[in-house]
């Protein structure tokens, strides 16, 4: 579904992503794990067009999307749930969800909104409330729901467990599995390597901008280097 070949991304003089290639097949959950500053978020931002790669290719279903605007990429079926949630703080929960459907032009938005509310009843209870007043977990639900509102075929999740209590982390990861089972392919970026690998089909390990290891998720969990560096064993 998604094919990324040899991308290089820079912040000014800083070389943040080096020759990264990765693949995501339809229906999969793929996790990218790595330490702070390894370039995980940079990859996701490049995929949705917020940053540009100097080289290489990004193809969705065989068509290059590397030169498309973020708006066009959303319409192609990729949605990003950004790091730190980035909900619109002074807009209501409902307006946040509506903005998630901004790139859509059909008239089934309200039906999808119902579905999001069924998935996250807490959001329904607070639909008129400003998003900035929600708790961290609720904001993560909102950000995820907002991402789903564009009806993505591929959902990019950037650190969904960031700053959440362990119980909420479990809940969020269960939702991710749910979303995947309903047919959305998922590319997940996480520092919480154990969680990310336990729900994933495959994984990539990123170190200072380079892919150092790739493989089936179970293999990565059992890999000694990964255990030592990211799982703290």
């Amino acid at each position: 579904m998604l094919n990324v070949k040899d991308i290089n991304v820079y912040y000014g003089a800083i070389h943040a992503v080096r020759n990264v290639s990765l693949e995501v097949h339809a229906g999969e959950i793929v996790s990218i794990i790595g330490a702070n500053g390894a370039g995980k978020s940079t990859i996701l931002k490049t995929l949705v067009g917020l940053l540009r790669s100097k080289t290489g290719e990004i193809c969705l279903d065989g068509k290059s999307i590397a030169d498309l605007s973020p708006a066009a990429i959303v319409q192609q079926g990729i949605a990003l749930v950004p790091e730190g949630r980035r909900v619109f703080p002074r807009l209501s929960v409902e307006d946040n969800l509506l903005l998630g459907a901004y790139a859509r032009k059909d008239n089934e938005v309200s039906r999808d909104m119902q579905r999001i509310y069924e998935m996250f009843p807490r959001l329904f209870e607070r639909k008129k409330q400003n998003a900035g007043t929600l708790s961290g977990g609720e904001q993560q639900m909102l950000a995820t729901g907002r991402g789903m509102m564009s009806r993505p075929r591929l959902l990019l999740l950037d650190e969904p467990s960031m700053g959440l209590a362990p119980l909420l982390v479990n809940q969020i990861f269960e939702t991710i599995l749910d979303i995947n089972e309903q047919g959305t392919t998922i590319l997940l970026v996480e520092q919480n390597a154990h969680m990310a690998l336990s729900i994933a089909d495959r994984g990539y390990v990123l170190e200072t901008g380079e892919v150092v290891l790739a493989g089936q998720a179970e293999e990565l969990i059992d890999n000694d280097e990964v255990r030592c560096a990211y799982l703290g064993e």
Partner: protein
């Protein structure tokens, strides 16, 4: 606040129009030797309305997309000079020149909006301030704009009859025109708020990165806000110039820009009622204080001191502006 809800929509517009039209025409109807509302009073009313238009136009940039602009007077003055030059040098009638003032401002607003696509916050303040100053010095130094003296003797607008011949004081037609424009802009703003465009503006204001991740074309909507803002500011500037029948580079000064931004902020950014309130308050207060000063014989004008105090007090007590939206959450 319940009364604010009560004033929403047609009701607020109706009350404002009734007040303005009542004040404007009661003397014409009564036809007595003594004015009930003297020309000076109507002058202040008209200036308030013109600044309401200016504040509403700035609200697109500083309210809806939340970008602080300190160069708004540049568009205001540009509109004034455009219609002044078109009527004087090319002998255009007022109405096409009036429209052209808006169009020229909007066309110039497009490249000036471009820096706003890249910079924000304090940096944008400096950029817009700089642009405003550039326009002022261009007007000060060009021969065609009359240099520091400006351009006197502009034509008076007319609609079958000259505006000067309508009503008891000759200001009434200007007031009606300003009122119509202000109300139109108010309803236009309300329509924008509830549209897809308004949705995009709100997203950009709240979080630009998230907005573009949602597929909102941030560049396009930012430029759109600047162009709309410049267009209506140009119209307001042209109206003021032809009312005073005079335009000078002072109309482009940064003091004007600051005053317009203050009107939006004190009234309540993003509040249409707030823009009216801010404009009326900050136009009427200095006039009222001058009268007080004259009657009790104060040796100085207390306005600037009070102006500073109002600003400090506002930021302390009600940073969202008098009619700004109450939010529990504040960044």
């Amino acid at each position: 606040m319940a009364w604010r809800q009560w004033l929403q929509g047609w009701r607020g517009a109706f009350l404002l129009s009734a007040f303005v039209l009542g004040v404007s025409f009661i003397d014409s109807v009564l036809n007595r030797p003594e004015y009930l509302f003297p020309p000076y009073f109507k002058h202040v009313l008209l200036i308030s309305l013109i600044y309401s238009i200016a504040a509403l136009s700035l609200n697109f940039v500083s309210g809806y997309i939340g970008q602080t602009s300190l160069g708004h007077a540049a568009f205001f003055g540009l509109g004034a000079f455009t219609s002044a030059l078109l009527t004087q040098e090319l002998h255009w009638p007022f109405w096409p020149a009036f429209l052209a003032a808006g169009v020229v401002s909007a066309v110039v607003g497009l490249p000036l909006g471009a820096p706003a696509v890249r910079v924000r916050g304090p940096f944008l303040v400096v950029v817009t301030y700089g642009c405003g100053e550039v326009f002022k010095y261009i007007a000060l130094n060009l021969e065609v704009t009359g240099g520091p003296a400006g351009l006197p003797g502009l034509v008076t607008p007319s609609l079958f009859v000259s505006f000067n011949d309508i009503g008891a004081t000759g200001k009434e037609a200007f007031i009606v025109l300003a009122l119509v424009l202000a109300l139109f802009l108010a309803f236009f703003s309300r329509r924008i708020e509830n549209s897809r465009v308004g949705q995009a503006f709100a997203a950009i204001r709240e979080d630009e990165i998230a907005a573009s991740a949602m597929g909102v074309n941030v560049t396009y909507y930012k430029l759109l806000a600047f162009v709309l803002s410049a267009f209506f500011a140009g119209l307001a500037g042209s109206l003021l110039a032809h009312y005073l029948s005079f335009v000078s580079p002072d109309m482009l000064s940064s003091a004007e820009s600051i005053m317009m931004l203050t009107m939006v902020v004190v009234g309540g950014a993003r509040s249409i009622h707030g823009c009216f309130l801010g404009a009326f308050l900050l136009t009427i207060l200095p006039e009222a204080l001058r009268m007080i000063k004259d009657t009790i014989g104060l040796p100085f004008d207390p306005w600037l001191v009070l102006f500073g105090l109002i600003l400090i007090l506002m930021m302390r007590v009600r940073p969202q502006g008098i009619l700004g939206a109450d939010t529990v959450f504040r960044r």
